[in-house]
Symmetry: C2
Subunit: 411 residues, 2 copies
């Protein structure tokens, strides 16, 4: 029989509120950019709390924190839980923070009940997940997983030219532990969904099977600037009309691959940007996503073909520059099953889903069996000071995390 | 029999080149913003040239210049020719300048041949036509015609907070002549077309019957910001997709009223403007034009109806704010006939057309029988340093202006 212990949801909720006093914004959100003084304070609080729960805390060379609760067999590979404490410039109170503090709640619960697991359990805080201060995002987990070199990570600079390496030294988080290179039994990341699906479906738990692949494009359309008055419609080569058709094309490409296909035009700029001048030049971004790499490649082809057709029909010069490709990530099937079983065992309604957003788990999946757990967030709102969740969902997610971790670590 | 004298096309072309040395830009255009030192220099040159052609020059209280060649009967209302010498920040060498110097060429030609007309002939330089330094555009002619008060005109400020009135004093063009209030026999404005029609039709002269009415709108669409990844296509309320459809709607509204209907979206801004966020807010401008006020009203209704339908289909909140209405202007039929006859008499191929752009003639039409003459410009390009015309067309236009002026003034 599996051990039956329950997390303390009230303590978890209080901890979330307490840590979010650091960097709290007047609008009810959090601004705690990576390795600022506020991020240091939050990390210090986390370290104190972990030590209070009987854990040892170590810091690796890119500043990732690991709070370790020893197992009966210290030679066994640990079960790793984790997420991040840094936020967007006008971030919410749960993105990342929830996963870290739910991990801590798992440690505290085990401590409360003097449970000793077979394998060690660790909780990680990954450095600079948001990428809002230092590019790229998911930097700490990326260096941990060997996706980026340590030199790349330490050399990342913020908009003021300050390096991440210097900020690690300044904040006291330039650790000595070598990066990665050790076996992990599993990596489990609990996170808010940041999308509307669970709420719309009335479900409590998302069992995350993988992460959408992403293709990013910079597109330009060139036509001919012309006066709005003297130029009849016929001879116009209107770059903004072309851009309008490209927005429709991108939308249609995603709709042709529902429900998982996504297409977003988030940035558009028309020049010269004058009320009575037909735009001669428009630039726009396109973001295509799908969990299946072959379908994503098909979407790429469709975007090219249909955009070319639309531009040619208007006499416009089209340039499509693919600027980034992040392949889809498939999580570990056994771990996904374990999460689903944990939710079922707790009587929590769940569904399998893919994550549309990137997470540290994407990189961890390269070095350990990995899966994620989602809980609903109100209106799917995230990266927003109004981001919020229900405390009952917070408790439920932590409970699933605890059960899945125990199933893996053995108790 | 009408008097047969010909303009000196070579002198006209040389004068255009000479005056455009003032404010010449490296890219071959002109930057001569209203009442700057360069504008003052150009005005001084114009005044010298007019006096050299035996004219008296007066300045009214908003700085409009009038070079008068006396008629046999000084009590007769003068025939007024004119345009402007100020330019866009990166303007061309012919917009406005051509009409003023062609008027001067008419005066010089009459002087060469000692022609005395029955009515006086005057050439006007209107202050701040472009509106690039002081808003609104066509300020000098608007104050002359009583559309704006003198106080409004003098109080107009440039981006540095300097008033037009102060600049008139500084440049020596704060004249004493009262505004308007005198009878004009006719106002004739010769201008480059600033559109592609004459060139495309292989014609030399545009006989301008009127000016398109203009309706300007500020439109906003509000949806819901959402993450590009976690948000499926279905639940999105994408303000930029709505904006793309509004661009199509505006385009379709114009096409339903070809050939004269025009619709332009020149400005678009999507917020938050992030590559991986579905835009929650988009603002855009719409410019609708038509020469028939009833058709323009119909277009207004169609824009509202179809935009509302498009926004509702996407769950977006639409706000359409009409910010300006400039009614269509119909020029004086007899004067239009006189221009057409003058072109025919010279064997110059012509067509009747409407002006898509505003000109000083729009305001003069409120106080005098008014019409305009267009000549082709290369590629329809204007408000651009690359703006250019053929010297043969310049000569032909001035010749039509001379004939029409003589027909009116009597010789």
């Amino acid at each position: 029989m599996a051990l039956r212990v329950d997390v303390n949801g009230e303590r978890l909720w209080r901890s979330i509120n307490e840590i979010n006093e650091i960097g709290a914004t007047p609008a009810g959100g959090v601004r705690r950019l990576a390795l600022t003084d506020d991020d240091r304070l939050a990390r210090d609080v986390f370290v104190d709390w972990c030590r209070g729960a009987g854990c040892e805390v170590s810091v690796d060379r890119i500043g990732n924190l690991f709070a370790r609760r020893e197992g009966r067999d210290p030679s066994r590979a640990p079960v790793l839980l984790g997420s991040h404490l840094d936020t967007q410039p006008t971030g919410g109170r749960f993105d990342g923070i929830y996963g870290v503090l739910a991990g801590l709640e798992v440690l505290r619960t085990l401590d409360d009940h003097d449970v000793v697991t077979e394998a060690p359990i660790e909780v990680a805080v990954w450095t600079n997940e948001e990428g809002a201060r230092f590019a790229p995002a998911m930097l700490g987990s990326g260096v941990f997983a060997g996706v980026f070199s340590l030199e790349e990570g330490l050399g990342a600079t913020d908009p003021d030219g300050i390096t991440l390496g210097d900020e690690l030294v300044r904040t006291g988080f330039a650790g000595e532990v070598p990066l990665g290179g050790r076996a992990l039994d599993a990596y489990l990341e609990l996170h808010i969904e940041q999308g509307p699906v669970l709420e719309a479906d009335g479900l409590t738990i998302g069992v995350v099977e993988g992460v959408l692949g992403i293709r990013w494009y910079d597109i330009t359309l060139d036509g001919q600037e012309a006066h709005a008055g003297p130029t009849p419609m016929g001879p116009r080569r209107d770059a903004l009309l072309g851009a309008a058709r490209l927005v429709e094309v991108a939308h249609a490409v995603a709709l042709a691959h529902t429900p998982e296909g996504r297409a977003t035009v988030g940035v558009i700029e028309a020049r010269p940007g004058s009320r009575n001048t037909v735009p001669g030049h428009v630039s726009l971004s396109v973001d295509l996503r799908h969990p299946d790499p072959e379908v994503l490649a098909t979407m790429d082809g469709e975007l090219h073909d249909r955009a070319t057709e639309a531009a040619e029909a208007l006499g416009l010069v089209l340039a499509i520059e693919p600027i980034w490709y992040s392949p889809p990530v498939a999580f570990d099937p056994a771990l996904v099953d374990a999460i689903e079983a944990a939710a079922a065992g707790l009587g929590l309604p769940s569904r399998r889903m893919v994550s549309g957003a990137g997470h540290d788990a994407c990189y961890l999946a390269q070095v350990a069996p990995t899966a994620m757990i989602f809980i609903p967030c109100a209106g799917g709102l995230s990266h927003n000071e109004a981001e919020t969740i229900e405390s009952a969902h917070a408790t439920a997610g932590a409970q699933v995390l605890l059960r899945a971790a125990l199933a893996r670590a053995g108790a």
